[in-house]
């Protein structure tokens, strides 16, 4: 299923909004769970089964733990750690899954075209696009650095947590800065940054699925807010 980037952005917004407001009654929990399931289903439609399953399991486990095994009366280090873990997962995971889905399935061209449709200035659109483009680069660099650390037997930084972090971050920062500099030089020589309005090859059109999803998301948010604050 091909969704319009605008729908995807709207989804990021709604999911983060609903997931951040605390759910207290079964109805509110129901809405929140439904909204969390949507991006997971979308991942399945994109044939990203493994990540869909992984997200689903992580969320389900945290959810079940938080609901059935932990309460205000829980004591001890293990339960306090668990509360921390589950709380973070249940609270932030939905937004993360959605963001991951959006980044994975949106081409930079589509994103730029969407920004133009929404009349966002080119400067902001380009910077956001560069951020999106950089995720895979960072991952690639990070995995080479990890390899190098394994080779040199310094995966654990000699048992020093600070060094473990330092050994990863310093080469990563250096190479990202270098790549960023070369990247912008290359982009400028191809006309980025002019006063001319950018054009776009990709024509975006909202389809049936987009309207359906947007209506559903809006309705869910309205019901959530109504029941939480006004009823």
């Amino acid at each position: 299923m091909k969704l319009d980037p605008r729908t995807k952005l709207f989804m990021v917004f709604v999911v983060s909004l609903v997931a951040m407001m605390s759910a207290t009654t079964p109805l509110l929990w129901g809405i929140r769970l439904t909204i969390t399931i949507i991006p997971i289903i979308l991942l399945v439609t994109e044939k990203k089964y493994a990540s869909a399953l992984r997200f689903f399991l992580a969320y389900a486990i945290a959810f079940v733990l938080a609901f059935y095994f932990l309460s205000e009366k829980s004591e001890g280090i293990i339960s306090s750690l668990l509360i921390g873990y589950c709380g973070i997962v249940v609270q932030f995971m939905p937004a993360m899954i959605t963001a991951w889905y959006v980044i994975r399935t949106t081409k930079i061209g589509e994103f730029m075209s969407c920004m133009q449709k929404m009349h966002i200035p080119d400067g902001i659109a380009v910077s956001l696009a560069v951020v999106m483009r950089f995720f895979p680069t960072i991952r690639e660099e990070y995995s080479s650095i990890n390899d190098a650390m394994r080779m040199r037997g310094v995966m654990l930084g000699g048992g020093n947590v600070l060094r473990m972090f330092e050994f990863r971050m310093i080469p990563l920062l250096f190479s990202c800065v270098n790549i960023g500099e070369e990247l912008s030089a290359a982009a400028i020589t191809r006309g980025l940054g002019g006063d001319t309005k950018r054009s776009s090859v990709i024509e975006l059109k909202l389809g049936f699925a987009d309207y359906l999803l947007m209506t559903f998301l809006t309705a869910a948010t309205v019901i959530f807010v109504m029941y939480k604050y006004f009823l």
């Binding site: 680069t137 190098a148 650390m149 050994f167 250096f174 190479s175 191809r190 002019g194 776009s200």
Partner: protein, 500 residues
Amino acid sequence: MSIVELENIIFQYKGSKDGSLNNINLNVEKGQTVLLCGASGSGKTSIIRLINGLIPHYYSGELEGEIRVAGHDIKKTELHELAGTVGTVFQNPRSQFFSVDTDGEIVFGPENIGLDPKEIKARLNDIVVEMNLDEILGRSIFDLSGGQKQRIACASVAALLPEIILLDEPSSNLDFDSIELLRGIIMEWKRQGKTIIISEHRLWYLKDAVDRVIYMENGKMAREWTGEEFVALSEDEVKSYKLRPIVLEEELIRDIRGESKASLCSVEDAIELKDFYFSYKKHPYIFLKKHFKESDGDFLNLNIQSLSIPKGKITGLVGPNGTGKSTFLRCLCGLEHDCRGKIISDGKIYKGRDRLKICYMVMQDVNHQLFTDSVKSEVMLSMKDKDEARCDEILESLGLADYKDTHPMALSGGQKQRVAIASAIASDAEILLFDEPTSGLDYSHMEKVSELLQQLASSGASVIVSTHDPELISECCDYVLGLNHGKVVYLKENSKQQRR
């Protein structure tokens, strides 16, 4: 009529003496193909940057003199105005892509200058046909080989229809066949009457294309030849300029393409490798991973049942891009867990993680491999018994003694590489692996690497070096190991070896 005019140029980068220019006067006629050659840091790249305006608008420094390109006064022209006039293909395919997908990359330039979408699509179609890009269209940039990336880079420059095309060491990361394709692209541009300026270390693929050759030395234009004069230069003359050869020997070409007719030669004193099977694709599994076996056949990216690596020698690992050279090195040193190959040396068997103990790989991008804040601690980090005297000895032998307390990131590329080699020596690994150590290096740096490798081998290490660099093979490799589709095709003694 001159399309590029550089007049009395004096330039120095802010805070660095490298790559500065001294009294450059250069006129390039429309339709000419000009080659800039010379050592690293001699100012080739700076000239390219002057013409595309990155100097002075992006890289700042002190600039004197006049630059006119196709009627634009570069000093007064904004960079984006040059987009339809000057196009640049850069050296590093990793960092010149804005998009993540190939189509998006080709249309990126035309979109920037606000062309009509219909016109952009028409241009995209033309270019795809012209450069034969059908098979790599609609793919992610991150899944492409170096050669494919460079073709996309060329296509995305051509999409702006520039009159002048600049190429800054475009072949650095390419194998023989990709360079041939690149040559085809350059010839096509030449036929279309574009003005082409190339800065390059590898010269053989350009010999029929160039009209003028300019030899740079310490920021000056030291010599100039016409295309015919350049091709007629004798081997010794080329060497005396510290340039890479203009003509490649047939046998070497066959060697680096992994097409030599030889078969496996027997090696007396050897390290045995057994059962190296690996694939990047995984068998689907639920709980237990299935191991890779020989019977997986074409599914495998690496398929070596047994192989003898000459001990204490330098073995050059050759074959086209994407044929499994890097995979082989990664499996050999144990970075790929799923490869369960065994290394047998002196009757001892190393498998799994133990392989990491006797192997050490110096990666292509050494920036990933340096972690600490001084050269000395970098070397000490690799040592099991922190022996300061030995550390000093190693640094001394690599000419790094003066840089003991310098931050590794503050060193030049060549020095960084030597630091990485120093930590390889310090790790006491028996098998040293090098992944493309000379890509993008000029002749004299390549010679230095080759001397270092010989030094390592004569101190008893077995060196395996994956390379596309014919000169490196003829300089230092004792054996040549050809890979194709993950299988060993041949292992032969290198007849061309000119070891002193």
